[in-house]
Every structure is written in structure tokens, then in C-alpha cells.
Symmetry: none
Subunit: 197 residues, 2 copies
């Protein structure tokens, strides 16, 4: 073997990283090919650093692996205590009352969480206090656990969500929730902070 090789190829590392992502998910090349729309051979070669994927293919592959494209390049670091772990039992929430809502923060003792999950109850009411939208940096995810909820997002038509429906949005945009109908509603809200965590 006289041939080869040059200095350490960056794309070989990159390939290993992709392979790792795939194996983490216990997927075969065929499976990822299916999900991404790429050919099996293409993924195989990319993982071994034989070829250098184009932006288009990287993009497809990211979707196939269900990761953000950025995740390919980011070295991961933990901002949160390794191994941290907490359980919240149905009853024992810490109650927080806001003007419009009653919230229960789920893991109040745990700091530096990347997400803040809260259970909320929305009282049945005809009239909503429209005075002020809530705004805060980050993203927000809401699922209706019970009842019917109307979500008002600034600049958009109100969205009516029934039990099981969910919504995901930029929480910097003014928003407001209200129970629709006669019953109280129960929601789960998860917030992620603005940038990075």
C-alpha cells in the first residue's frame, strides 16, 4: 500500500460523528436512507469520510437523523449537572398565581434547567383580560391536557386547541391563554430560555 494519505482529514471526524448519531438511534443505513431520501451508499461513504457531502445532502441527512443541522457541528457541553434527575408527583407542585393563570412549576428545586415545565389551570371564564400579552425571550410549547383552550398570539388569529392539541411558538411574541367554554382547562407549558440556555 504505497498510496494515501494526507494529514488527518476533518471530514473523517465528521463522518464518525454522523455514524454515532445514527447508531445512537439504532438505525441502519437503510433506515436513515429512507428517512432522509439519500442513497444508502451515499450515507455509507459520508460516514467513512470517503466523500464530502454537499450542503443540500447534509441538510437532508440532518432531517433524516432528526437533528438540527447545527447539531452536526456543535461540540456538546453540559450546562446542567451531569446525571441530574428529579421526579414530580402529581400532587406536590409548587403553586404560583399570576393575574391570569394559576401555575405550578414542576421542578422548582432544580436549577439551570434547559427547560421549565409548568402545569397550569385556566379557569372557565367568558371574558379574558386582554390588557397585556405576555412576552419573554425563548420558545414555548403548550399542550392541552384537558378542556379547550384558546391561544392568542399577537398579530394572529386566535387558535382554538382541544385536548391533545399543542402549539409551539416564539415566546417573544405576545401571547395569552384562556379557557374556552364552560369547563376549567388544564395545560402543560414548557419554556426554553432565549439563547443557548
Amino acid at each position: 500500500m504505497t498510496e494515501v494519505t494526507e494529514a488527518p482529514k476533518p471530514r473523517a471526524d465528521f463522518g464518525r460523528r454522523i455514524r454515532q448519531l445514527r447508531r445512537d438511534r439504532d438505525w441502519t443505513l437503510a433506515e436513515v436512507a429512507e428517512r432522509s431520501g439519500l442513497a444508502i451508499s451515499t450515507i455509507s461513504k459520508a460516514e467513512r469520510g470517503v466523500i464530502s457531502l454537499t450542503y443540500d445532502r447534509l441538510s437532508q441527512l440532518a432531517r433524516g437523523l432528526e437533528v438540527d443541522l447545527a447539531a452536526f457541528f456543535n461540540a456538546e457541553g453540559l450546562s446542567f449537572e451531569p446525571g441530574a434527575f428529579a421526579v414530580a408527583r402529581k400532587g406536590d407542585f409548587k403553586r404560583q398565581e399570576t393575574q391570569n393563570y394559576v401555575y405550578e412549576m414542576l421542578f422548582p428545586d432544580m436549577w439551570n434547567k434547559a427547560m421549565t415545565p409548568m402545569m397550569g389551570s385556566l379557569k372557565a371564564r367568558e371574558l379574558v383580560d386582554f390588557e397585556d400579552f405576555v412576552r419573554h425571550p425563548g420558545q414555548e410549547f403548550l399542550v392541552v391536557m384537558d378542556g379547550v383552550v384558546t391561544v392568542f398570539v399577537e398579530g394572529r388569529a386566535p387558535v382554538r386547541l382541544e385536548t391533545g392539541d399543542s402549539i409551539y411558538f416564539d415566546s417573544a411574541v405576545g401571547h395569552l391563554y384562556a379557557s374556552d367554554g364552560e369547563r376549567d382547562a388544564r395545560i402543560l407549558v414548557v419554556c426554553a430560555p432565549g439563547s443557548g440556555g
Copy 2:
């Protein structure tokens, strides 16, 4: 289908982003070509989305622009644009089957989310496949929507969660879910990536 605020030509957006980075620095194509070792024409085409750069070229270009490769993809605006907004209705999830679970990612079309919410169904079964824990960087939050679930976290005693209970943990630690009892269980899982990615 989930509604997402737009997602047109990905590489055209990407090209504009690169061009912006160059202009921010007041550099000409020739200058970036010099710094990166790429041809002027190549950069020109890439900036206009005429071609799709390979990983190798992207890598070179990043060096030339003196940015981290991740910066190409990180900066907000690529996919999760300010004001982004999506609704997922109870039925229309995108189904994904894993060896152990059946889950449905909630907003598959929306990229760069700070959180990844998924609905999952755990089949009633007596025996769990213990072979391998799942591990991935980031944090994870799980609520039991229906049924009883046992969560196995590596190095800890199994945790039994009933409907309404939830758990929050470092997903780098091996973990595994199983339905307990005779009924199928339904869970909501929200993942947050490692750090910013």
C-alpha cells in the same frame, strides 16, 4: 400536517447568510477567496445558491470568514425565525417506530427548535428489552398522559410514574421507558439539546 411559517429554498437562505457574513467584514469575493483558498467563482455561486457546497468547501469557507463552522448554522433566522409559530392537532402526528417505542414527533417541519416535543405510546408488555439504554446529550422531560410507566435510569432504581407524574433528567445518562401493567401507556416527552445545538 403541522403548519409552519415558511421553509422555502434552504440553500438560498444559506447563501444569503454567507454573503452577509462576508459583507459584515467588508470583504470582497477575491479577499475571501484568498483567505479560504476557494475560487472566487465558487463563493459567488454558493452565495447565490447556484451550487451546494460540500462539507470540505464549507469547512474552508468558514476558516476564510473566520467563523466557527457551527456559526453558519446556529445564527437564528435560518429556520426558527423570530415569530415562528406552529400548531399540531391531536391526530396528525408523524409516526416513528423504534425498537422499543412508537412515538410521534410533534413539529417535524420546524427546525432549530430549542425543544423537541414528542408524543409516545408504550405498548403493554411484561418484558422490556434491556439491552441498551438510550443516551443523548441534553435534558429530557417526560409526563405520563395516560397509564402507568416505569422509567429506568442507569444506576438508579426504576421509577414508577402514574398518570400526571413527570420526571426531568440528564438524557446523557442511559434511560429507557416501559409501560407498566396491562394497559398501553401514553407519554409526552420533551427534549432539549446539549448546549445551544
